[in-house]
């Protein structure tokens, strides 16, 4: 198994397929939709409608840039509140017309800035978690690169969650963790290990449903092959989910996230306070 820090580097590889590449590969007749109807169109999240196989779907995801210029414009895939609100608008629209939703996760985290706080970054993410937990159409999430904390989860409450083999998903970046723990961002390698942020770790912790294989060194070498595996996994998931009635779908999603966590019951302590 690769050291965690090597996987972190692959997950952030500049040539790694982005959400736009996935959308082009997975979806036919794609129509991109823009804006949250409240403030702006956030270029850090893209989304729209199209056909996956013969199924009309809504597909959306974080969008990183291919070069420095585009990355600056797209805030390196770090969304503002309007990005999460655009995502929610598209998901509610999908629900209205009975379309399943596919989300693509690839972000260092939600954007930390003055405007983001002023416009309610926390509220936007919280509302997405709340609404996604009750959305009455299937949701399939795919962590394609970086699953950075609340900014990733903000479009990640799904019936099936998959990760590419060299993607990461974590509560905090290894650098952030290292600087808190050891006051030294250079110890990111140890922090990456400790956080257990690889796809194999998440599978073991019961947080994701499946791992999408990547060819050779990583998805950047032959994007088509990795995306082909992703297509198969999504197709299989939709096949299973589209036969469920709405009640079962929403209840199963609730139960899925409800089970996550690790704790013990110590009955000697009850009623202490």
């Amino acid at each position: 198994m690769k050291p965690a820090i090597d996987v972190v580097r692959l997950a952030r590889h500049p040539k790694r397929p982005t959400s736009r590449d996935f959308i082009e590969y997975l979806v036919r007749d794609f129509v991109e939709l823009h804006g949250d109807r409240r403030f702006a169109d956030d270029p850090a999240i893209i989304g729209g409608i199209g056909f996956f196989a013969d199924i009309p779907v809504t597909i959306l995801g974080h969008q990183k840039g291919r070069n420095v210029r585009e990355n600056i414009r797209r805030h390196f895939g770090m969304a503002h509140p309007e990005g999460y609100r655009k995502a929610l608008r598209l998901m509610k629209q999908a629900e209205r017309f009975g379309r399943p939703v596919i989300t693509l996760i690839d972000t260092p985290g939600a954007y930390p800035g003055i405007g983001a706080e002023e416009r309610g970054q926390a509220e936007a993410i919280a509302t997405n978690l709340y609404e996604m937990s009750g959305l009455r159409v299937p949701i399939v999430a795919l962590v394609t690169g970086e699953g950075g904390s609340g900014g990733a989860l903000g479009i990640g409450v799904a019936d099936r969650v998959f990760m590419l083999a060299n993607a990461i998903y974590s509560v905090i970046s290894p650098e952030g963790c290292a600087s808190i723990l050891w006051k030294d961002a250079a110890k990111a390698s140890a922090a990456a290990e400790a956080l257990r942020l690889r796809a194999v770790d998440l599978k073991e912790l019961g947080v994701i449903d499946g791992i999408i294989a990547e060819p050779g060194e990583g998805a950047h070498e032959q994007p088509g092959e990795a995306m082909g595996h992703a297509r198969k996994a999504i197709a299989m998931a939709l096949k299973e989910l589209l036969v469920l009635d709405e009640e079962t779908l929403v209840r199963s999603r609730y139960d899925k996230f409800r089970r996550m966590g690790a704790f013990t019951l110590d009955d000697g302590l009850s009623g202490l306070i």
């Binding site: 993410i125 919280a126 709340y130 723990l181 140890a190 996550m260 966590g261």
Partner: protein
């Protein structure tokens, strides 16, 4: 800090008699700084005397990632907190009205949300849904508990979904945002209150001020991320000093106690 004869305000360093300080709700009479309180103090601030009944107190944290120093950190925090975790949950009466109540403890690893906090909040919300109780949560948190990795992040989804379940039974969530409310807790149940009440001067936000400053490379405006700032930006309903908190809460609870007309769906899911 609160067990001696005198206490010093952490903001302006004024020394107060503990007895005066107590009757001032642990708020500095000089600068208005609101001291952070532990759950037993909050219970005395908010609940009718002797009505608090603890629920889910037997949930204890594990170290699922075998994260460096986490076990020692937990042991120390548990000793200091006499057994409870970063949140205390139960039922109580406030102004003779029954409520489900959760109080987060800044003394316990900065009230960070790990599996136990998420599970206790979710169980309390489900309990309240089943028993048709309004929920009051006194919030304070440094965010997600890094030492539980991805499992702590998933508590955000779990708690937000549980708020939805509460709403399915037409019961309100009343959040009391205290200093500091940040990170994953803000971005989940803290921002989902039907009525959100913030304490005067409390720091409330998603990203920490230091992270924002590093990212944008400029100084933050004065008062940024204070309760008053959030009120101005439309992110909270009410900002009150602690001495008016209980009365404000009672007023809000009263209005939610009676139903003006029967609902169409009878409060189903």
């Amino acid at each position: 800090m609160l067990n001696r004869l005198f206490v010093q305000c952490p903001q302006c360093q004024t020394t107060h008699f503990i007895s005066f300080f107590k009757s001032a709700h642990y708020v500095c009479s000089r600068c208005g700084h609101h001291s952070r309180l532990d759950p037993p103090h909050w219970i005395r601030q908010l609940c009718d005397r002797g009505t608090f009944r603890s629920l889910f107190a037997n949930l204890k944290s594990l170290d699922p990632l075998r994260f460096p120093q986490y076990r020692q950190k937990l042991d120390a925090a548990e000793r200091a907190a006499s057994g409870w975790e970063a949140v205390v949950t139960g039922t109580a009466e406030i102004g003779d009205m029954p409520v489900a109540l959760a109080i987060m403890d800044p003394g316990f690893i900065m009230a960070s949300m790990g599996s136990v906090v998420g599970e206790k909040i979710a169980r309390l919300l489900e309990h309240a849904a089943d028993h048709r109780l309004p929920v009051v949560i006194v919030i304070c948190s440094g965010g997600a508990r890094m030492q539980e990795g991805i499992l702590s992040l998933m508590q955000m989804a779990k708690t937000a979904a549980a708020v939805r379940r509460l709403h399915g039974k037409r019961q309100p969530l009343i959040t009391i945002l205290t200093d500091p409310t940040t990170g994953g807790v803000t971005a989940s149940f803290a921002m989902l209150g039907d009525v959100s009440i913030a304490e005067t001067g409390a720091l409330i936000g998603f990203a920490g001020p230091r992270v924002i400053q590093q990212t944008i490379g400029q100084k933050l405006p004065p008062g940024f991320q204070t309760a008053e700032f959030l009120l101005e930006k439309g992110m909270v309903d009410i900002v009150v000093p602690r001495k008016h908190l209980r009365a404000t809460l009672v007023g809000v609870l009263k209005i939610h106690r009676t139903r003006p007309y029967p609902f169409h769906h009878g409060g189903g899911e």
